[in-house]
Amino acid sequence: MKAIAIAVLWGLTFAVAHAAEPGRAPLPAIEIAKPGQCVEPKDVIRRDHMKFLRHQRDLTMHEGIRTKKHSLNECISCHASPKTGSVIGEGGFCQSCHDYAAVKPDCWDCHQPKPGQKSVAGARP
């Protein structure tokens, strides 16, 4: 019994010691190609970006409100990697952090992760 307790304790100590070791879980590589002020303070957007996006998504979808502040396309146009042109994939702004946090967003099943040209649509004749 005592032997088991010691083994467990030793295992825990080992785990804790190594968790603190740098490099075991690579930190997300956040490159910001266009430095500047985000639409929200950094700590707020890090914690609550999903709430903003979700709120905006319902407004846009159901009420046709297309303000830019919390629009996903605006996030993408600022944060797309200059190398890949995307927010996902290798070094992608969204993906690197989400990989680190082990959270899989399903935005990209439908949304385009690369910024695109707005289709030209003139005023109604």
Partner: protein, 245 residues
């Protein structure tokens, strides 16, 4: 920055309206530009978007509207006719009794009482206040009941993964979709891509506008000539009407 853009847009709209007055452009034009909604305002039921299709002008064999839709919404060319999405299609008709032939585009009719909205279990299929019927892909589970319910076969199921979406038209595997009336263009004051293409090809068979605005071209037209709602027996009160059926 975004607010400045809004201001600029409002200024431009006002300037355009003013120019309309000066140039004595047709009244409908300036009224509709003035009605373009600011980004931060919700759509209202004061507007009912609709379309009038003149089948006497629609050419058999012409698929400009279909190509424009595929291009605008990044649907791609129809390679697999059984499973590829078709938001708008050309139907060639021949009256059985008389042999009279005609051709017309068929798409979501944007019903005021849409069966797809009634049957959708999650509420993903919904009608916007301004009459545009849409699928909220965030809550669509892909059950396909709306496809069973639609009398116009206006809906397609996304059978394969996609990566080449138009940033303004998200779409992906496992959800049902259909004509959005190019809502992303309409909200910015534009017209649907099919209507634009039909006009560009010189056919002018498609007229888009606000049915609730008595001064709009479409409202005037439906007041003047007899127009038809397809399967009017179902009493769905369609946003899309046809002339010459």
């Amino acid at each position: 920055m975004s607010e400045r853009n809004d201001d600029r847009r409002k200024f431009l709209a006002a300037a355009a309206a003013g120019a309309g007055f000066v140039a004595l452009a047709p009244g409908i034009r300036l009224v509709e530009i003035a009605a373009a909604k600011p980004d931060n305002e919700a759509v209202t039921a004061r507007v009912r978007w609709g379309m009038l299709i003149d089948t006497t002008r629609c050419q058999t064999g012409c698929t400009e509207c279909v190509s424009a839709c595929n291009k605008e919404n990044h649907l791609g060319e129809v390679k697999k006719p059984r499973t590829d999405a078709q938001w708008i299609r050309k139907i060639d008709l021949k009256e059985l009794k008389t042999g009279r032939a005609l051709s017309l585009p068929m798409m979501c009719q944007h019903c005021a009482n849409p069966p797809c909205v009634d049957v959708c279990p999650t509420g993903a299929s919904f009608k916007r206040a301004d009459g545009i019927v849409l699928v909220d892909r965030h809550i669509c589970i892909g059950c396909r009941y709306c496809m069973m319910a639609c009398p116009y076969k206006a809906r397609s199921f996304v059978h394969e993964p996609h990566t080449d979406q138009n940033p303004e038209v998200p779409r992906g595997q496992g959800c049902v979709e259909g004509c959005t009336l190019c809502v992303h263009r309409v909200d910015r004051g534009g017209t649907p891509a099919c209507v634009e293409a039909c006009a560009a090809a010189g056919h002018n068979a498609m007229l888009f506008g606000d049915l609730n605005d008595p001064e709009s071209a479409i409202a005037k037209r439906v007041r003047e000539v007899k127009t038809t709602q397809v399967r009017a027996d179902l009493k769905l009160d369609l946003g899309v009407r046809y002339e010459g059926i």
